[in-house]
């Protein structure tokens, strides 16, 4: 750790801004999305396709669990020593001719990037898919400033041309099927062949033709980064299409926006993460292209190389000792691909740039649980645990979801003294379930429930919003005449 910081005042963590919020309570958004049967069919097809592929390639590696453990430990170790790792990265990146900028939040990051683009004199930029820039709303900001940003990843292009929002961190257009993609291309690409079919290979060719001149003439590119290696100052981008290579190689200026949590100690760590990431994300043994660059290389690639290191609420997440491992996320999206909730609602229901199980914890951790409707996100899970099993860095998402529910309850109780229906339900259950004696008394009343049942011995409707929600789609059997405990006692057993 550098001695420069001795004596610095301690500052509280900073909350994140930008596209990190649920815009309405999750149940409300989810109910609307559930009504879109085309969306559900698209999501089901895509998530099931990727699940099988992932299982196949993960099953090939006899040491998958060892890799997961090493990945998890490496991330924990980095987070515990983050200032030193960032410091080391900065020194090495700078020594190789790169320029490091720091951004406290979305607004500051957008300002830095805009100034850097302006300094080049260019009024347009090409972009490699980047969650960090999505999070800070960079494209919208650049547009306001008169700078055109062109997304080059196929799925991002589909989203941008369709005036849509991403719904998945790896495949932002997962909610669209091939026919819908074709229709977007026909409407939005003036030069496209009007006989374009919905064959994915043909659609990919249309995207190639559409973007080719942009790549060849672009002076400035903006990227994210999957990794930053502290010991060498190296940045890495993992991709498939070659649009990343185009952006990272051909322009004169390259600006990378990266969260501070992406740093890894050393090049050796790539041997773990480059096995974990591709197999978990696209279900491939390796993604087609990975680019690594270390500052500026004379005669090869961009000669003006910048990185913006972004906080935007990451320190807020880091300060939560029960939640901080959410920052270990390597953005593979395996958790959303296996999540039964995501599969049915899609990513838009979560509002935030980060949807699915990881988003349900990451978004409120970065913004604070009280921010807008983010308190509803941790409940967007049946706690089935499929996400934890799929996570390549073993983030215990279900445990963190439960932790954040606790934070939400605390925040709600602090905000209002009026008990909610859930509060009353929980209080009643607490009294009934904290003592065998009380439960026994309550159970004596259970046969009364038989009165509520119909002739088929089923209860079809319960009062109240919560219990009523249960009986909206499920019957409850009539209670038995006698509880087990009562039977046991009457049998004279101990």
């Amino acid at each position: 750790m550098s001695s420069t910081f001795v004596g610095m005042p301690t500052l509280p963590s900073q909350r994140g801004h930008g596209n990190l919020h649920a815009e309405e309570p999750f149940p409300q958004a989810a109910t609307r999305e559930l009504g879109n049967s085309q969306l559900r069919a698209n999501l089901r097809h895509a998530t099931h396709t990727i699940r099988d592929k992932r299982l196949n390639v993960v099953g090939e590696l006899p040491d998958w669990e060892d890799l997961r453990q090493a990945g998890s430990d490496t991330k924990d170790a980095v987070m515990a020593d983050l200032p030193a790792k960032l410091d080391e990265f900065e020194k090495n990146f700078t020594a190789r001719g790169g320029v490091v900028h720091w951004a406290r939040d979305a607004e500051e990051a957008n300002r830095i990037v805009t100034d850097l683009v302006r300094a080049t004199g260019s009024e347009e930029i090409v972009k490699v898919k980047s969650m960090a820039t999505q999070e800070i709303g960079l494209n919208e900001h650049l547009e306001e400033q008169g700078i055109a940003a062109f997304e080059t990843d196929l799925a991002e292009l589909i989203v941008q041309l369709g005036h849509d929002k991403p719904s998945h961190i790896l495949v932002p257009a997962i909610h669209k099927n091939r026919t819908e993609v074709r229709d977007i291309f026909l409407n939005e690409m003036p030069e496209v062949d009007p006989d374009l079919t919905d064959n994915p290979a043909e659609l990919a060719m249309a995207a190639r033709a559409h973007l080719r001149q942009k790549f060849l003439s672009a002076k400035v590119a903006i990227s994210g980064a999957n990794f930053a290696l502290a010991d060498t100052g190296t940045l890495g981008v993992v991709e498939s299409e070659g649009n990343g290579r185009m952006c990272l190689t051909l322009p004169e200026t390259l600006i990378t926006v990266m969260g501070i949590e992406k740093v890894l100690p050393s090049a050796q760590d790539l041997e773990v993460f480059m096995q974990l990431l591709p197999r978990s994300s696209t279900g491939e043994r390796m993604n087609p292209y990975t680019s690594l660059w270390t500052g500026v290389t004379e005669g090869d690639g961009p000669q003006n190389v910048h990185i913006v290191l972004l906080d935007n609420g990451r320190t807020n997440a880091l300060a939560d000792k029960y939640g901080r491992t959410a920052l270990n996320c390597i953005r593979c999206s395996a958790c959303m691909n296996v999540c039964p909730v995501y599969e049915r609602t899609g990513g838009h229901a979560y509002g935030s740039t980060y949807p699915g199980p990881i988003g349900a914890i990451l978004s409120p951790l970065m913004t604070g649980i009280e921010a807008e409707d983010n308190g509803s996100l941790p409940y967007a899970s049946s706690l089935c645990g499929a996400c934890y099993d799929a996570c390549p860095v073993k983030i215990n998402i279900p445990d963190i979801l439960v932790h954040l529910r606790g934070e939400d309850v605390k925040a709600q109780h602090a905000a209002s003294r009026v008990p909610t229906e859930m509060d009353l339900l929980m209080k009643g259950a607490e009294i009934a379930l904290s003592s065998g004696k009380v439960l026994n008394l309550m159970e004596k009343a259970l046969p009364l429930g038989r009165l509520a049942a119909g002739r088929d011995k089923k209860i079809k409707k319960l009062p109240g919003k919560l219990a009523g929600a249960w009986t909206s789609s499920r019957d409850i059997p009539a209670p038995p005449a006698q509880s087990f405990r009562d039977w046991w006692k009457k049998e004279g057993r101990s």
Partner: protein
């Protein structure tokens, strides 16, 4: 062996026959069963809803109840309640800074087993027909509940035991490892998403043609059964303890909704 039965609140109140079946199985193997009278609930609903203070009180009651009786191991016919006792109770105590309670919770948790975990791993039961006299001449399918599968790592213990029941026909459930959508208060707070998950589970059960879906967690079975019933399906649900306890002489009572599929 002296075995303490943790009936779980839902089985105690709603499915007493499942607890009686558990007792029958263990006694048939020659073990003594005791029922710690102070027990009520594991507190999972409170924990998973974020009401940690209430959950801790419920958990403390469970811990005290299971400390007040002498036994070798405790057993529950529920994967999720066992997972709660093992994982959530120490967590609740630690969060509150109660290291004493955390230690006691860990001790109780270490002695607590899910039914098939106890049968297979501790009592060496691998053939239900042979060792328990289990006989159940029906076609069933089987739903492995999430917490048994992912938190307790039960693997195929439940399914393998069911397959060894005399006269049974077990048909594989498509997408068996998908959650049924219960998730405790999730089914109320996010009722529509839960229902969408339940509908797919019910459809998969229907596609097997089996008249019964067996499982090891009463809460999931309540949920699945409630969905099947509302959809007017002929299929019902039954806890695997009742299937394992069923014999030729003393057959299990099969839910009345079930038609056919008897061999």
């Amino acid at each position: 062996m002296r075995i303490a039965l943790f009936a779980t609140c839902i089985v105690d109140a709603m499915y007493p026959s499942t607890a009686r079946a558990t007792v029958r199985i263990l006694e048939r193997l020659g073990h003594e069963v005791v029922f710690p009278a102070g027990q009520a609930c594991c507190g999972q609903m409170h924990t998973n809803s974020g009401y940690f203070d209430a959950a801790r009180k419920v958990a403390a009651n469970h811990i005290t109840a299971f400390e007040s009786v002498e036994y070798d191991v405790a057993v529950a016919p529920s994967g999720s309640c066992v997972a709660s006792v093992k994982h959530q109770h120490p967590m609740l105590a630690e969060r509150a800074g109660d290291t004493d309670l955390a230690e006691r919770a860990t001790a109780v948790g270490a002695k607590t087993y899910e039914l098939t975990q106890l049968l297979v791993d501790v009592l060496g039961v691998t053939d239900a027909a042979e060792q328990l006299g289990s006989y159940f001449p029906h076609t069933i399918t089987y739903h492995p509940s999430c917490h048994g599968m992912r938190l307790l790592r039960l693997g195929d213990r439940q399914l393998d035991l069911l397959k060894t029941v005399g006269g049974i026909d077990v048909v594989e459930l498509p997408e068996a490892d998908a959650c049924c959508g219960f998730g405790g208060t999730f089914s109320m707070k996010n009722a529509q998403v839960s229902t969408a998950m339940l509908e797919d589970k019910a459809e998969n059960i229907r596609s097997t043609g089996a008249g019964l879906c067996a499982g090891g967690d009463a809460s999931c079975l309540l949920h699945i059964g409630g969905g099947l019933s509302r959809a007017g399906s002929a299929a019902g649900t039954l806890h695997l303890a009742e299937i394992l306890a069923s014999t030729l002489e003393e057959p299990a009572e099969v839910p009345s909704t079930t038609t056919g599929a008897t061999r």
